[in-house]
Assembly symmetry: C2
Homo-oligomer: 404 residues x 2
């Protein structure tokens, strides 16, 4: 909850940072019950600056997949840091990590490491333009691929030509996708898609297999590249490429967030067909070959391969979804629970301004369970059955609170 | 030097990464004597995968300012990592770091933290466009502000409109700057400059004070913002903003590389006049509020304030410059040593294809001293008088080597 210490930190932040805390971590649009700052994190829990503990269903907006402060992952980080991190050349761990990635994920022939998820989506854009010699990209209206001017969702600070050569379509709408590709004429470089529709505020959608297959076909017909942006959902739907289960293999995929369980690392992966183009663009960053996050990612990938983290989080997520549905019914509320259970968006029926949703998540956070009212949430492998029982108990209490 | 192990790693890298090692760390254009991979780094030294030791004058292309594996900086990192790093909100350390930055650097009223230097230059672009409601930026031809499409130096993968609304001028040329500003008509959003001219291959230039002052005046006259990109040279010319000594305070400055002595952190800083605009753009990244690099930066900034790291590196750099000049003369060579002594570019007179420069730096690296033939070099505070003596001795030997 917002305490005197948290308020005082927010006031200090507003003095020395533009708007105080900025970006997706800002609690500016949330209930005043939300703490803005955290002093500590471990496993599935956060502690605010007054020492209050929260069961965290945001997982740092995705990076936390195995649990905060994961011992084996962080030990690998710290050991590599002692040896060498950012240097005048890469460490051999870069090669080992790329080999592991290629070995683990079907359809991935090569890896280009970077820092932000947005670095990877930008490198995808450049690779597609270099590969095809064409400029236009087709992407879904409202989909988030980063905050750089070429993909920003708002228009503040975006120049009049920053989103030139882009055509938008409705996610999951085959006809509208075909219309957009037709509109690109002979200039299509790529189709960009998220593996699921996970825009903020509105219902999430699983991909229609017909839509996924048609996107692949349209790329094959035109020579354009299919880019699946796995930054947010990667390793949370499957251990491999997100659309593989539908028989669709992208040419390029972007990854980030959970790749090193919270350490700063992202990647563009691709198929052999566009490896030459990827080698011809010049993309780089001062910290992209830092070895410590790569050592952490190596351990993360090994754990993803060797444990049931995925089945565990799906099981807990389905238990939460079922339990929330029952609790809402008991209290006479209708919930909209959309997206995969483990990447859920939970809002209320007939609540277009999110008043009930905001009140309920505000009550939940007051009760020590951190839910988000309009951004999809996340699970981590450190969560237990007991945590879900606790969350359901508090959710029940929060329903009662808002009927109040 | 390239050894069997290094070659084998390069071969493996080429299998799983586009072009093998990509970006500025690639040794593809350097003498085959250069090792591509490093196993270890400490202080002023690197060790390749065969255990050969190098005195490193590249400092990871800038991030290493205090020495690799700096004990106090890394201890702060590791301690914060154990407490909490990437979380669902920032740690209080973010506020403390922003306050320290504002307190330390004249003309800085606020700080927006990010990861890549390029994130900061992009946020500067967006802030300037939001602040002015205009689109055009004037920047110096050949200057590096990152590899994103809007500032990429090459055209591979860059779309036909990615660099629209940009006008180029010659650095240090007041008349050409005025011509560019005039050409922008009423649409000037910002003038972007590096604090020194540090383009690759060609001679570096210190800024002409008349040019710096005129850039400031032109911004004041038009309402545009002056952006000084300190990513590469920040904290290496002065402890404050790079142009302050000439009486010129920018509206926006970008920082990166050495800010946390190698840990991934960058920042856009600004004056109050454009704080509102910076709060209205939406820029963010999954790892931007990671607390561990911020804890490392806090210690780094404290060391920058409290020690003579700057005077020490300048003294060593001038000793190297003087010594290299004398050694070259003894061997009948003419060197071009341009830029500030502590950010030097060292090439040979009458060597347009860099043949002598490549041969000499290739010989030097063979002798365990890592120089770069066409990118400016860097010093770190861990270097000693003895290191410079050693470098000069090897430089002398390398001159003899290339005379055959």
């Amino acid at each position: 909850m917002t305490t005197a210490s948290d308020r005082s930190l927010k006031d200090r932040a507003a003095e020395v940072m533009p708007g105080g805390v900025y970006g997706h971590l800002s609690t500016g649009k949330l209930s005043p019950n939300y703490p803005q700052f955290f002093a500590k994190a471990k496993g599935a829990h956060l502690w605010d600056v007054e020492g209050r503990k929260y069961l965290d269903f945001m997982c740092a907006f995705g990076p936390n997949l195995l649990g905060y402060g994961h011992d084996a992952v962080n030990a690998a980080y710290v050991d590599q840091l002692a040896l060498g991190d950012v240097m005048t050349g890469p460490s051999p761990v870069a090669v080992e990590l790329a080999e592991t990635f290629v070995d683990m994920v079907d359809g991935v022939d090569w890896v280009l490491f970077c820092k932000n998820g947005n670095d990877a989506t930008t490198a995808a854009l450049m690779t597609a333009r270099k590969h095809t010699g064409k400029a236009t990209i087709v992407r879904a209206k409202g989909a988030y691929h980063g905050s750089a001017p070429w993909c920003a969702l708002g228009d503040a600070g975006v120049g009049p030509h920053d989103q030139a050569d882009q055509i938008f379509h409705r996610y999951n709408d085959v006809e509208d996708l075909e219309r957009a590709v037709k509109q690109a004429g002979g200039d299509l470089a790529a189709i960009f898609v998220s593996p699921i529709k996970h825009d903020i505020i509105i219902d999430q959608e699983l991909p229609d297999p017909a839509y996924a297959r048609r996107a692949r076909e349209l790329c094959d017909e035109t020579g354009a590249l299919l880019v699946v942006d796995n930054v947010r959902a990667g390793f949370r739907l499957t251990r491999g490429c997100s659309w593989t289960a539908m028989g669709v293999t992208p040419d390029l995929s972007s990854w980030g967030k959970s790749l090193a369980n919270g350490h700063a690392l992202s990647a563009l992966t691709g198929a052999d067909v566009c490896k030459a183009a990827a080698s011809q663009i010049f993309v780089t960053g001062s910290f992209w070959f830092a070895a410590a996050p790569m050592a952490a990612a190596l351990v993360t990938l090994r754990i993803l391969r060797e444990t049931d983290y995925l089945e565990h989080t799906v099981r807990l997520a389905e238990k939460l979804r079922t339990g929330l549905h029952a609790a809402a019914q008991r209290h006479g509320f209708g919930l909209r629970q959309t997206g995969p259970a483990q990447i859920p968006l939970v809002t209320f029926e007939d609540d277009p301004e999110l008043k009930l949703t905001n009140a309920w998540t505000g009550a939940l956070v007051q009760r020590g369970v951190y839910f988000h009212p309009y951004h999809n949430m996340f699970f981590c492998a450190a969560m237990t059955e007991g945590d879900i029982d606790h969350a359901l108990e508090q959710a029940d209490g929060a329903f009662a609170d808002i009927k109040g």
